[in-house]
């Protein structure tokens, strides 16, 4: 089956159309500083959404990423407040994230529970731990070196954007060209057949949830650094933004189909909508409505094109 132009690039076309419309509505939109601003704003959601793409490719879901972001952020900030160096804090944060994800993966595979339930539990528990650790108050006193991660630039490019780019490139190549990537698609595409093919399904699932946790930890670090403090209520609802980006990007919620490049465009669409509505001074109440409509509309258009294609090829 050949893919039509629209099928392959549909979501990209939607994104470009959106940019075109906004560039007419607001002269500022296409300026370089604004565009860099947009990309920096989506870097947090982008990193999470790339991890979420892996999870959803296996046919799973991770609802706990927002809480994982908050907990790692709090620990990373707390370590520094207690006089530890930024480097150590970052390493601990990444390991903690990976550890939380690994627990998710182990309970899902060894306990045989649906990812929805397990990560829902983690969402609540990790949030609780964050509140216990912080006593419900934000933690300041971060080191200067640490602040560079969220606020620094390399040339004219913000560090978070560089991190996002690296995460995107690595995950793209891993998914496309490695045995691990191939097996992730197989596990999501048909779990039973992948076991019959000699794939260690459980190992792959634990790995994927661990990577998700690692990226949540990374997000927690970038977010805390950027805000200059760790807020115990940070990251609430992040899981939904990440899932939204994945879905807009064309990854199937049933698993086995999709790509991180689509997810990036999904995250960009959300970012551009946010930015555009702000530039146009739309009240934040209306913004939510518009966002909801555009998100569903984009997926509808994409879906419609695919279905049409499928009907023809039947």
């Amino acid at each position: 089956m050949k893919k039509t132009f629209f099928q392959k690039y549909g979501i990209l076309i939607i994104f470009l159309l959106l940019c075109l419309v906004l560039s007419f509505l607001s002269p500022v939109f296409l300026s370089i500083p604004n565009l860099i601003n947009v990309v920096r704003q989506i870097s947090i959601n982008g990193i999470l959404a790339i991890g979420m793409t892996l999870v959803i490719l296996t046919g799973g879901i991770d609802l706990s990423v927002g809480s994982q972001v908050a907990l790692t952020g709090a620990i990373v900030a707390g370590l520094q407040a207690h006089g530890q160096g930024a480097f150590l804090a970052v390493i601990v944060g990444l390991l903690l994230g990976a550890f939380l994800g690994c627990i998710n993966g182990l309970i899902i595979t060894k306990g045989g529970l649906p990812p929805f339930i397990v990560t829902l539990g983690m969402l609540t528990a990790a949030r609780g731990l964050t509140l216990i650790y912080t006593g419900g108050r934000p933690i300041y006193d971060l080191s200067k070196a640490f602040n560079f991660i969220g606020a620094g630039y390399l040339g004219s490019i913000p560090i978070p954007v560089i991190i996002l780019t690296l995460v995107l490139l690595v995950s793209h190549f891993v998914l496309k060209y490695t045995i691990f990537g191939r097996e992730v698609y197989a596990v999501g595409g048909n779990p039973e057949a992948s076991v019959y093919s000699g794939i260690n399904k459980e190992k792959r699932l634990v790995q994927v949830y661990t990577i998700m946790g690692f990226l949540s930890g990374l997000t927690g670090i970038v977010l805390t650094s950027r805000l200059g403090s760790a807020d115990p209520t940070a990251g609430v609802g992040f899981e939904l933004d990440a899932i939204t980006a994945v879905v807009i990007g064309g990854t199937s919620m049933f698993g086995g189909e999709g790509a991180v490049t689509g997810t990036l465009i999904g995250a960009l669409i959300i970012g551009v909508i946010n930015n555009g509505l702000n530039l146009l001074n739309v009240s934040s109440y209306y913004q939510q409505v518009v966002k909801g409509v555009i998100v569903v509309g984009a997926v509808l258009m994409d879906n419609y094109a695919r279905k049409k294609q499928q009907k023809i090829s039947e």
Binding site: Y177, A193, Y196, I312
Partner: protein, 495 residues
Amino acid sequence: MASDYLLEMEGVSKRFSGVKALNNVEFRVKSGEVHALIGENGAGKSTLIKILSGIHKMDTGTICFNGSKVIIQSPRHAQQLGIATVHQELNLFPALSVSENIFIGRLPRKKSGIVDWHLLKKETEKLFNKLGIEIDPTTTVESLGVAEKQLVEIARALSQGAKLVIMDEPTSSLSQGEAERLFKIITALKANGITFIYVTHKLEELFQIADRITVFRDGCYIKTKEIADCSYQELVELMVGRELTSLFPKVQVELGEPVFKVNNLSRNKEIENVSFSIRRGEILGISGLVGAGRTELARCLFGVTLPTNGEIYMNEKQLTIKKPLDAIKQGICLVPEDRKNQGLVLKMSVQKNISLSILSMFRKTFGFIDGHKESATVQDAVAQLKIKTPSVEQLVGNLSGGNQQKVVFAKEFLADPQLLILDEPTRGVDVGAKAEIHRLIGNFVKKGGSVLMISSELPEIMGMSDRILVMSKGKIVKEFQRSEATQEKILEYAL
């Protein structure tokens, strides 16, 4: 209008994006007959059925049903006309009871609006009595076997006033015994004036069940004949359009020493004390009814499930198999019974499916896949097995059943097994592809491989095997040498 025809289709054509699926075909079904529609995959049978059941609309042509011209608009419209289709994938609600399934959407109610369970049960029993079906109306559908589920679906169609029942591959997942029961019920319903269109790949059963046959080939109508005037050979030639020398070409192979041995293998109640050995170059057939423990045995040998007892030896060495990966590493591969759920990832390409079990062969540093090597290996296999696909990038889900099955075979052959376990290797595969698959199996044993073949098709088991084990209730109850086996003897032990 000739009144003895219930259905007359004329000049029916249907194109899909330029490809002619049906080319000016005719199809006439008499009232009260069982009319078999046969042809290879891609012959247009499914398209015709989908037109009749309202899923597709024909481009040109006329349909005359029950004496009046109709254009079938939708599945609902087909149902209203009295055309019911029993699909391969059954359309039932597993968690609901049998009677609820039959009367879903029109459950009898009391005045208060609450479902009248008592009346529902009585109505179902009345219907079952009339049809000669013995199923408890209150059991849930999920606890029934495939054969019984089909009966429920037929009963539902008839309770809605169906005059014409289309059966699409009804026996593909039935054992011989279950199929016999289905045939009895079809025969009884036929006596009550119900008309059947019967689609199948199993030509043997046509002589038992069908009155007339119509053959399609490559989207064209070929012929309609009385089954009494046909021979098996003739049917095959009509379908394939060329002469088939032999359907089960038994390759003569010098048998070597025993390679694979199983001692007292048991698993719960599913398999009990199964022992056998297979020699180099040998095809060992396993016959038996569905539920006799054949598939359970295959899954156990392959490490999908674990035995509770017993040992497995390969070349005198005891094997520990805890998961399929262990089995593959030790030289045991499985072609599973359900290729769509167990054999293939339909959303993935031909290439990715074929290389899935052997990705480690293409490993480069950091776990990257050597794309050139992979694609060369796969291209080679596709050519050798004559898999018909536009390219190796094609999604496996878009191939015909026979070619899908060949993809599974390619995948297993590339893992270079010593023992190949085949579970229903030609289920739902057309005659041409079937012969090719049998040829592949023959080549495999000729090169010194060993095969354990499970099949519900007795001609296939008898045609291919060197020895035949008959299983019943988890045990091996009889062993036949190739020369001693007959259908009757095997069935006698299987039942």
